[in-house]
Symmetry: C2
Subunit: 334 residues, 2 copies
């Protein structure tokens, strides 16, 4: 039986996610309903994507008994409210990253998931790409020995996008870009909490972070460094240096389709989208969707690959990075 | 008339430097004398390199009236004493990097150079490679707009070399490896003092630094990050990100023979050595030797490309990095 998806919000990322769903077998994945704050937006989206039901409020989607899991694609200042709405209605949830604005909000979401006994996952799509799966396999097999250093980057000029600039929209490069580098470090070091984290960066006049370099130290003399920027194009690759070799993920590290292990490159191509996409390699969201399906089939309430504690570690480190570079959201002051 | 070089110390780097001199026209550069602490070592070196005079003490070399400039190639804990010896004997000096162990020692050396009115330069050979010259030209022409980010790396497994490990030999990766990354950052930002510098790293049991990540913030939201390690092989490239493009220096960034400007690569090959070398691209030391000659011909007491203030800035930042990672030399306690 197909997993029946409800799509919450009709923005760019929801478009790409819905296109990505269509690269999967229709007998496995079906977008059955879409909700926007304006009914016309939902109706337009439903026509474009051939989704049978369109709602002019998130509440109606929450009440739809035909929906197994809701994909939340609105901006992150609204994630807390949307997550609580759907989970209190006993809906499973795949929520776009970052899961919320700060640790306090994430804890509230995780608590609600447990209380309502629903499945919840932060949509860190990168982790489910075949490249990422292969990286985890290689690390588990100690193909490059002990990992000693990780470096990654995410920098694109995006200062024309209000979403990256305005504080009330959840602006700041960390939560939209830097988090990809951070989640990569956390994945490679298997969810271990770093011994120390240091962030040096510069902010925009709007009070959000623009370009930041973060260094982390882990036990056993293992380290990591990443750079993210909403103002400049960086090489945007990632590298893992081990005692016996090196794994490189060429640009773009957040939606990877190629892997270089000790100099040998392998391609992992994505399926073509049926409609134009808004984001690089957007059909790669198919893998996180399939992860959700597999977890639901197994009756899991969280994914072992992107677990609740993974989300908690991420946001705690993100809070610390923000503290060091001096970014305070209104949500921090409540 | 040829510049007449005296070679102080007969170690690996002196060998390479002398080989590099031979790639230059003999009417411009002549190694005329060599000194070691043991006469046999000097004699063997003089035979190997066809140098007419061999001395069993540095003092004899300092007294040799036929020597215009002394190349100091011993280990850095001995640079202070050697520099003072030769400069007090009114010899010009090209001294291997790092110029000395800490700021106090470097200041003593710079003061002595001024007092004795001799030429003195820290042998930061990288700065004189054609690649580096081209980088400075491109930056001056604002070929990539305003520089916003620099990244560089120097990591090689060298823990089998006592010189990198033992504190009394000047061990620690910063002064032997990291300084190349730091000087690169300082060159690109034109000797400007950073607003902040943060170092995170791990040390060896001997109390010297093994692997360190350093982030720097400069005025106008310009940043830099570099990683150095004596325990692992890193990609070892460098990149300069500007508002209008990117300059990449492929591995090895400390002795570069290739340059990639906005994706277009140009090769800058080195001459072949007449004898096997100890270090990668060792004949590249020819460019610093020629810089010394040109400065001497112009009557300069320091090189505008690697000036006394450049050396002072380097060592002050190196002291700060050491302070943050907790490396203390006996020379710091005098």
């Amino acid at each position: 039986m197909a997993t029946r998806w409800g799509i919450c919000s009709t923005g760019k990322i929801s478009h790409d996610f819905t296109v990505a769903l269509k690269t999967l077998p229709a007998e496995d994945h079906q977008a059955v309903a879409v909700a926007a704050r304006k009914l016309e937006d939902a109706q337009e989206f439903s026509r474009k994507h051939n989704i049978s039901k369109a709602y002019g409020s998130y509440e109606e989607l929450a009440r739809d008994p035909d929906v197994d899991v809701v994909y939340i694609g609105n901006i992150h200042p609204h994630h807390l409210k949307a997550c609580l709405l759907f989970m209190n209605a006993k809906k499973n949830v795949l929520c776009e990253k970052p899961l919320a604005m700060n640790t306090k909000e994430v804890k509230e979401i995780l608590d609600s998931a447990k209380r309502n006994q629903v499945f919840l996952m932060e949509a860190v799509w990168t982790r489910f790409f075949p490249v990422s799966e292969e990286v985890r396999k290689l690390l588990a097999q100690r193909e490059i020995g002990e990992v000693k250093m990780i470096r990654s980057e995410f920098g694109i000029p995006l200062l024309h996008r209000p979403r990256l600039v305005e504080k009330e929209l959840g602006g700041g490069a960390l939560l939209s870009l830097g988090m990809y580098c951070l989640q990569f470090v956390c994945m490679v070091y298997n969810g271990e909490r770093p011994e120390s984290i240091q962030a040096t960066g510069v902010c925009l006049d709007t009070g959000v972070d623009e370009t930041v370099i973060v260094t982390l130290k882990f036990s056993e003399k293992r380290m990591a460094v990443f750079t993210y920027s909403s103002s400049m194009k960086l090489p945007n690759d990632a590298i893992i240096v081990g005692t016996k070799g090196t794994i490189q993920i060429p640009s773009w590290m957040w939606c990877p389709t190629s892997l270089i292990v000790n100099g040998k490159e392998t391609q992992y191509p994505l399926p073509e989208p049926c409609l134009p996409l808004n984001f690089h390699n957007g059909t790669g969201m198919r893998y996180e969707a399939e992860e959700v399906r597999q977890c639901l089939l197994k009756g899991l309430k969280e994914s072992p690959v992107m677990s609740h504690s993974d989300s908690l570690l991420l946001i705690e480190l993100e809070d610390e990075i923000r503290r060091q570079v001096g970014v305070v959201y209104s949500q921090d002051c409540l």
